[in-house]
Symmetry: C2
Subunit: 625 residues, 2 copies
């Protein structure tokens, strides 16, 4: 509801038109001040957002943490000037701050980010905001029932992203009638016309075939927009899509519906503002959130983690599932999801124990990660699992999770050539590199079941993106159930007073390294084995201590490509120490095929024999040893 003096003299429709012009003018002013940005992409959606802000958005801007606030996500993040102009109209930011757009240190970044308290997730990678919106809407329909609505502004260009269709599928599957997409069909992408141009029917038909309610409007007719929003609110049992035909750069003849003006400041901002009728000062008080439950406090106790007897065989992937199920019993905030392989990742054990907090995401890894981010936005503690290799399908979403300051936990099973007969398409050999190169991430790679269980519990409270890599095959339990581990830690699993070489290993190669050390000891050669289960952060001090104790002789061994994995993490950690080193780095170098895990570890020269050979070579190469 607008509250300026001006508004009292206007009909509601007139006010919306005025407000839309204000949003356009402010988008132009902000981008002109910045010297860059996307004013024309903001201008096409101004009428749509004006009506939304004044009549439909239920949001207390003074309390962004109100759990019943609506959620407004600009999936077309490049329309950020419009979002910031909305915030200014709502009184959430000052006009002075509006004009800091894109400056160093400003909260008003080129694309929206949670540097602003009203922004749930960073956007700007097209096709990302919508699936996160699905996750936020899903939370309110399941584990944390609330009256809020999720509004997502989607651009027509981003409808080309497959991730959008994963979102369409899931929103319909989960019957998310609390989700409304506002699709801004301004016809023009960055470099040219979109695939469908103004063929709004093409979008409508696709959405209907996916089970959505569809409302088509002229995106500059505020009364029609009003009716569409009203219809969306009345839709039950399915999500709604408002397909709005718009003009990019609407209202300024120099750029309106003209190609070549994507991401450019208007040619004459002052003339454009004049053409739009000059500055307005409309202040809108958004309607308060619908009454709903207060902020929820989730019951939490210490999990009774499973314990495994030393010497027995147990896969780390099964230990993941068993620990997660126990964690779910101890903590009501824990939710889990899987990419249709819960019988392989063993997240199915959580599903059996807590079906109301388990979400089958089918083979849609991007939507799975987005749902996890959405649950995190809503204060839950999500764990997502799949074969480790298939998280590469969602790498952009994981990257964006980090920029969104989200805390999510990802468990990838079937790491490395130890996966065996299924062949290379199923083997994660790049996942450590991929997850290490995520801002603020944690990368864990346990070697036994007890360690896995402890790390699962630690992951629950760990900020940022936490990745846990598990192995398909059964491996020996080497740690006692009481053993404690920490993020950033390591563990010496084999050592003597006479160690000549440090073997840094993790996961499956810890077992190979122990075998190698035992073989070597029989020949009077002493190598210690450091279990570097935390690849990021890494235990620099323990590495340095061990290397000092072993004359700087180091073998790293990993079931991963040589790039970006454990070996490079170790080298990076010790690089600035100035320690004099002799290093052999073992990793998977050739393209594997099928075979048994043992055959493939051997073929890749990362098994016990290869490690023993590497240790011997280090000692042979030093005169006097």
């Amino acid at each position: 509801m607008a509250t300026t003096a001006l508004s009292s003299t206007l009909t509601r429709s007139e006010l919306w038109r005025e407000l839309a012009q204000q949003l356009r003018v402010d988008s132009i002013r902000a981008t002109a001040a910045a010297g860059s940005g996307h004013p024309t992409s903001a201008m096409s959606a101004a009428d749509l957002m004006a009506v939304l802000l004044d009549k439909y958005l239920r949001y207390d801007f003074s309390r962004p943490g109100d759990p019943n606030n609506d959620h407004l996500i600009f999936s077309k993040g490049h329309a950020s000037p419009l979002l910031y102009a909305l915030y200014a109209a709502a009184g959430a930011i000052s006009d002075d701050e509006l004009l800091t757009l894109r400056r160093l240190g400003s909260r008003l970044e080129g694309h929206p980010s949670p540097a602003l308290p009203w922004v749930d997730v960073a956007t700007g990678s097209l096709g990302f905001g919508l699936p996160v919106g699905v996750g936020i809407a899903l939370a309110a329909k399941t584990v944390d029932p609330r009256p809020y609505r999720v509004w997502v502004l989607v651009g027509d260009s981003e409808m080309a992203e497959g991730s959008v269709w994963e979102a369409f599928e899931h929103a319909a599957h989960w019957r998310l009638d609390n989700l409304t997409i506002v699709l801004d069909v301004n016809r023009l992408g960055q470099s040219g016309e979109t695939m469908h141009g103004w063929d709004v029917t093409s979008y409508a038909e696709r959405a209907r075939s996916f089970g959505w309610e569809v409302l088509s409007v002229d995106g500059h007719d505020v009364e029609a927009i009003d009716e569409a929003y009203a219809s969306a609110l009345e839709t039950t049992g399915r999500p709604s899509l408002i397909v709005a035909r718009t003009l990019k750069g609407k209202g300024v003849a120099a750029v309106e519906d003209k190609p070549g003006w994507h991401g450019k400041v208007l040619p004459d901002p002052q003339a454009a503002i004049a053409e739009l009728g000059g500055r307005r000062h409309i202040r809108v008080e958004a309607a308060p959130p619908r009454p709903g439950p207060p902020e929820r406090t989730y019951a939490a106790s210490s999990p009774v983690l499973p314990g495994y007897e030393v010497g027995t065989q147990m896969s780390t992937r099964r230990a993941y599932g068993e620990a997660l199920a126990e964690l779910g019993s101890a903590r009501e905030d824990v939710v889990a999801m899987d990419g249709e392989v819960s019988n392989s990742t063993f997240s199915g054990l959580f599903a059996d124990a807590h079906p109301e907090r388990f979400f089958e995401m089918f083979v849609a890894e991007q939507q799975m990660i987005a749902a996890a981010i959405g649950f995190d936005v809503r204060g839950l503690t999500p764990f997502a699992s799949a074969f480790a290799a298939f998280f590469s399908r969602a790498y952009d979403f994981i990257r964006m999770a980090a920029i969104s300051r989200a805390s999510i936990r990802i468990a990838g099973s079937h790491a490395g050539v130890a996966t065996g007969e299924d062949g290379p398409s199923q083997m994660a050999l790049e996942d450590i590199a991929m997850f290490r190169a995520v801002h603020g991430s944690t990368v864990l790679y346990p070697s036994d079941a007890n360690q896995t269980a402890k790390l699962v519990a630690l992951a629950a409270d760990n900020p940022g993106v936490t990745y846990l890599r598990t192995t398909r095959a059964d491996t020996p339990v080497i740690y006692r159930p009481e053993a404690e581990f920490e993020i950033g830690g390591s563990r010496l699993v084999h050592a003597s007073l006479h160690d000549q070489v440090t073997i840094a290993a993790a996961g499956i190669t810890v077992h190979e390294a122990i075998k190698a050390a035992l073989q070597l000891a029989a020949d009077g050669i002493y190598a210690r084995v450091l279990d570097v289960y935390s690849a990021k952060p890494i235990d620099r001090e323990a590495l340095l201590d061990s290397l000092r104790a072993t004359g700087g002789r180091l073998v790293t061994v990993e079931d991963h490509w040589p790039q970006g994995g454990l070996g490079e993490a170790v080298l990076e950690a010790i690089a600035e120490s100035g320690l004099s080193l002799q290093v052999v780095k073992l990793a998977v170098r050739g393209l594997p095929g099928s075979g048994t895990p043992a055959e493939l570890l051997h073929a890749a020269s990362i098994d016990a024999d290869a490690i023993a050979t590497a240790v011997r070579s280090l000692l042979d190469s030093v005169p006097g040893q």
Copy 2:
């Protein structure tokens, strides 16, 4: 056409049913011999593939390189036993080889790979084979007109992948009536029922809304299948989808349509084979390829690359576009595609010069990479470009490109914080890590326009996945147009007789490093700058030579996260040398926001000032310096 004695006594339909049983039996035999695999996923599609092989597939198995052969892609790669049973029925592999399934060294891997000459691409990552099929079909409709047809067997589970819908969009957009999907709706995924179960209408409606011809059949009724294939052949102007309702594990009561049998050997293989009527020995001679043009030889001459005057300003992204356009003039096999940002990546210059060989892939990075792989399958030389950050959207496809032994070239613009005001969602800060950790990949990061042009030309003949990272901003031209570069090379760009420190830099940081070296020289401190433009393979010898010349003192500086990038590549390269080092590693450590490139380079401590400080700290830390 089947050619056994048996076949002469059977009607065609009876033969198809017998052949289908043979394919089932052989799938069971092979997986039983292997002790693992996916027989039930093979059995559901056996009737569909039997009719295809005997009547519709136009393929000379003795000449897999025949350019007019049809293409058969198992996008549901886990049905590999069926594919191998088809090859056996076609006489392409022996029964003995069939029984080597999943063994070390066998060409018959758990999921299909081009270790077999009839396999175009590795599959097994769901949602990948279909988009590649789109690329192969697109080639025949555009740059290399041919009569072949592309048949893709798709599983119902993989319809959940967004990449599938990118393929549906593009196939319809390009009117690929030479593409037919055989959708095996066996209802059961790995861990449970698919989202849509046997609701075949849901698939049909979605496909129709995307503009496809849709034919629905009982997937075990060979006559109906025959009719559907015939209709698909007659469809013009649009791709066709055969939606086949099937039973997983069809024909063996112990597993037929039963959950819990995904990826498992049958409980009693001998009983199952008996239930299916025992072994058959039907041999099918597939119809020969349709007559078409002979293998094409593309005109090729040395490209007249653009040259830039030393000291002028030119962005490497523009140099990419200018060089690519020239390369296209010199070589008819070069094709280019872009993710709807060709005015930013400057691939638009290629589009202007060679519109018939440029493909607008819109904002669908997965389909873009898949199309590039498809063009490579057809012997073309594809270059794909987009903002570097957005290739993270297609990381799984890039991983699968490597497993497919594909040679593709990827150019990513807008690298690092030097991207500036657009903010972190648009900045590639993990791309070097991501591309280095791809099997057999090449990672290039030029610092100036002439170097870029030369590397573009070299990329054209480089095998595997070649990545070229470019920078948004104009930077000084530092190399003469005549300068030569090589993959795996480096270049000393600033050196003296008295150098005390090596600065290893690439791309934007080369310029910062040169500035730092000049600043330091004014104070009598001498640092050399090594332009490590080839991050993989890396110029180990030059690095070692330089480090020996500078007392092992090293500063690495990169516009990238600290993990997996240039710094780690350098450390990895020299790790095994045993050289005693003192290292400072500069990289982007905090999450950037918006700002000018210079501000953000400074804020990240990777600018000239930070480099100079690092050099001084190395010298200060050594007694006597």
